[in-house]
């Protein structure tokens, strides 16, 4: 096979042909061969895709059309997996063909910037796992649980369809464009593509959004650990375990990552079992039963210390532990759902789907369902991971579809499993757990009375069931354990005990679930604080250059304190909020995350337009428009809605008026101090919404302007290309999970190349 410089019509022409080394086999499968392989439909292939479509269709029919008493959880698995396969095989290929147009003859940053450290060519399957572990955390485990208030179908449709048309598209495009730019971050790309105003707005928005996201993730942990000595002990033990692992890796046996991860995992399991024993003892219950405010302060102090400690001591080892758990838990959960196949008796659309006063989160299905479920369907935070880290490790350009698009599909599947786990528990129990204490009254009797008064079809819960559930999972109470994590943990314990261990193991599984969620969140809190601190240092550094020096301690500490102070304030606000905290703040989390997605998609829109691809611009414009409409509508309602439960300022006005009228209690706030807290909180939340939405509108407007300008200039060649120059590749690797026939042929050819020719030898850059 020769590397004849065939017609490169498929690639955006202006980058020019890349001359690969004629002494080497081709570094890319010949266009024509790949095309014919792709478009040749053998009977086997047709039968396979017909079967996948049929199974997917039947599964969707079972979920969406058939209205039986119950629906089996296995249909969720089939509907999602079949839709993902079809989306991956067909839609992502459309994106590849018409928008990204990867060229495997070009070297990736991992090749032309190879340094053996940050830029390292990584096997595609390994990188897939690595990228997945970096993007998936507690988000997809929490949002779907909270959204289950509306019934299972709205959430299921949004998670599955949203990921195929929006979330995975964003991740893939951001990853690809960052890779073409040497692994530049989203912030840097925004500045390059959208100019100073757009870039600055994107930077400020990203910083604020990170504060909100970290605060609300921390709130989830606080809610899960409040009044739970078992949880506090076992999650607290992760800190000494991580410190031990850090010292082990630094001084005792450097580099033995696998070994220390297994040791850490065993210690973690011991901490969970030990937590059960400790919580039983009087002294253990005494020391570790903490109220939420104490835990919140503990988390704030922890967050500050963790962010200024060296990475090797705490962050790196906990990251190993977290990755280890992530993969284990997800495999386990998938197996359990497939083996146990729980029957779901939650209706497709619940009574709250058509109302806007749901107890778990307020607001109508549109737009609030779409912001409640962010991670798993469309998560802007991913753009920060998909740019920067992963692109520096990609071996071949074509692999971005598998890693970027495929990795996000995988996260979506996690969200589906979390949804299944949450809806497999009794519906009455679900509402008793997820409604704020202001509504349930906090005791099993009041909670049962309140839930039964909701008039939900088929719901009749007894105080005994609530008490028994708490006993089974080893907690004092499950009433008003909001935040999603405890519900997921009960659901997971419910499924897992049928798989392994029976009722006796339920308390272990419950705390196992709490433990891994806390582990993911603590890692995200720590890493998020660090990233935000660096962004702040960098921004201040534009005015006071000294701040740019990462090693300047006072600057680093001051910026860390500012960031921790910011998220800590929001966290405390959520913990002490008389209205319940998570249900008023969670929409803000979703809106923030989706606005970040809108910013990332705006950057992609501008890039795609500048590359001259106008015919298929809708592929980016569609999710961007949807994200923009959803978040701007949600923000608008949060700011202007006259319904106090929905609008922050309406609530603010109602409470201010009550105070002015001299009332000493109003709604769920029973004291004047509580009423004043509501006034303060709603004002802060309201103004945060205003700032977010204004910043995002600026970024979107800048992107639309850049797109229009690119359209006017099309064909003139005046649009500046910010890609790194194309350099010839000297390696080959297949694009997807399973190599195609042509790829295998080429791999065999590369096998024959002497080793000394195979890698670029001049490694000095």
């Amino acid at each position: 096979m020769a590397t004849a410089p065939e017609n490169r019509s498929g690639s955006s022409g202006r980058e020019g042909a890349v001359d690969t080394d004629p002494a080497l086999p081709p570094t890319a499968v010949d266009e024509a061969v790949r095309e014919s392989e792709d478009s040749k439909w053998t009977p086997g292939k047709i039968a396979l895709w017909a079967a996948i479509s049929l199974l997917g269709g039947v599964a969707w029919f079972m979920l969406a059309i058939v209205r039986g008493e119950t629906v089996n959880a296995i249909w969720f698995v089939f509907a999602s997996v079949c839709t993902y396969l079809i989306g991956y095989r067909f839609y992502s290929k459309v994106i590849e063909r018409f928008i990204t147009k990867p060229d495997d003859r070009r070297a990736t940053p991992a090749e032309y910037k190879a340094d053996g450290k940050d830029y390292v060519r990584t096997d595609r399957n390994v990188l897939f796992g690595h990228h997945f572990a970096a993007i998936a955390g507690a988000g997809p485990l929490v949002g779907p649980v909270i959204a289950a208030q509306m019934g299972y179908l709205p959430g299921t449709i949004w998670i599955i369809v949203g990921v195929v048309l929006a979330g995975a598209v964003q991740d893939y495009l951001v990853m690809f464009f960052s890779m073409r730019r040497g692994g530049r971050s989203l912030g840097q790309m925004a500045r390059e593509e959208l100019g100073v105003i757009g870039g600055t707005a994107a930077l400020v928005a990203t910083l604020l959004i990170m504060v909100i996201i970290v605060a609300i993730l921390a709130l989830v942990v606080v809610n899960a650990l409040g009044e739970s000595p078992w949880g506090v002990f076992s999650v607290g033990m992760t800190i000494p375990i991580a410190l031990f692992m850090g010292v082990y890796l630094r001084y005792l046996r450097p580099g033995k990552v696998m070994e220390v991860s297994i040791i850490g995992f065993v210690l973690l399991m011991a901490a969970i079992i030990g937590g059960g024993i400790v919580a039983e003892t009087p002294w253990g219950a005494d020391i570790f039963t903490l109220d939420k405010v104490t835990i919140a302060w503990g988390l704030i102090v922890y967050g500050f210390i963790a962010a200024i400690l060296p990475v090797w001591l705490l962050l790196a080892p906990r990251d190993y532990l977290s990755t280890f758990m992530k993969i284990g838990v997800i495999v386990m959960l998938a197996l359990a759902i497939i083996v146990v196949r729980p029957e779901i008796n939650v209706p497709a659309f619940s009574e709250f789907a058509s109302r806007e006063n749901g107890p778990v989160f307020p607001g109508a299905l549109f737009p609030f369902l779409f912001v409640t479920i962010a991670c798993g369907a469309l998560s802007g935070f991913h753009a920060l991971i998909s740019s920067g880290t992963t692109p520096k490790l990609i071996e071949k350009e074509r692999q971005t579809r598998f890693i970027g698009y495929g990795g996000m599909l995988m996260e979506s599947f996690v969200a589906i499993m979390a949804l299944v786990a949450a809806i497999s528990i009794d519906r009455g129990l679900y509402f008793a757990m997820n409604a704020p204490a202001a509504l349930t009254g906090g005791s099993v009797e009041t909670a049962a009375t309140w839930v039964n008064s909701l008039g939900l079809a088929g719901v009749n819960i007894t105080p005994e069931l609530l008490a028994e559930t708490a006993r089974n999972v080893g907690e004092q109470s499950v009433v008003s354990r909001t935040g999603g994590a405890p519900t997921l943990a009960v659901g997971l314990a419910h499924i897992m005990q049928q798989f392994i261990g029976g009722t006796a193991m339920m308390s272990f599984w419950y705390h196992f679930a709490i433990m891994f969620e806390a582990l993911f969140i603590l890692t995200a809190v720590d890493a998020g604080t660090r990233v935000a601190r660096f962004m702040l240092q960098d921004s201040i550094g534009n005015f006071v250059p000294k701040f740019k020096e990462a090693s300047w301690r006072p600057g680093a500490w001051l910026c860390t304190a500012i960031m921790v102070g910011a998220w800590g304030a929001v966290l405390l606000m959520g913990v002490t909020d008389p209205l319940g905290g998570i249900n008023t703040l969670f929409p803000l989390f979703g809106i923030a995350n989706q606005l970040l997605a809108a910013i990332a998609l705006s950057v992609c829109l501008a890039i795609v337009a500048k590359r001259g691809t106008f015919k298929y611009l809708w592929i980016v414009a569609l999710p961007l428009a949807f994200a923009a409409v959803v978040t701007i509508t949600a923000s608008y309602q949060k700011i202007f809605s006259p319904t106090p439960a929905v609008g922050y300022f309406a609530n603010n006005a109602a409470f201010s008026k009550a105070l002015a009228d001299g009332k000493t209690e109003f709604g769920t706030a029973k004291t004047v101090a509580a009423m004043e807290a509501v006034v303060r909180n709603t004002a802060i939340q309201g103004w945060l919404s205003v700032i977010f939405v204004v910043l995002s509108i600026i970024v979107i407007a800048m992107a639309v302007l850049a797109t229009v300008k690119a359209f006017r200039n099309r064909g003139t060649g005046t649009e500046k290309d910010n890609e790194d120059p194309a350099l010839p590749s000297r390696v080959f690797a297949p694009a997807g999970l399973i190599p195609t026939a042509a790829e295998r042929e080429l791999m065999a050819e590369w096998e024959k190349v002497p080793a000394n020719l195979r890698f670029e030898r001049a490694g000095h850059h």
Partner: protein
Amino acid sequence: MSAGLAVLSSGFRGFARYLSGVLGADAYAKYLEHHRASGHSGPPLTEREFWRDRTDRQDANPQGRCC
């Protein structure tokens, strides 16, 4: 029986190798490979130095973890 066991053990080893790749446990091996292939004149970092350098560089370049 023994053939089945061999398949099982090689499958397990493959999985362990994959997991260590995902965790990044093979970073030093990859660094050595890069060092050899790129023909540097100086000796490579020792394993201890490499891992120190790796985590210390993360101090200066924090990487986000997602929600």
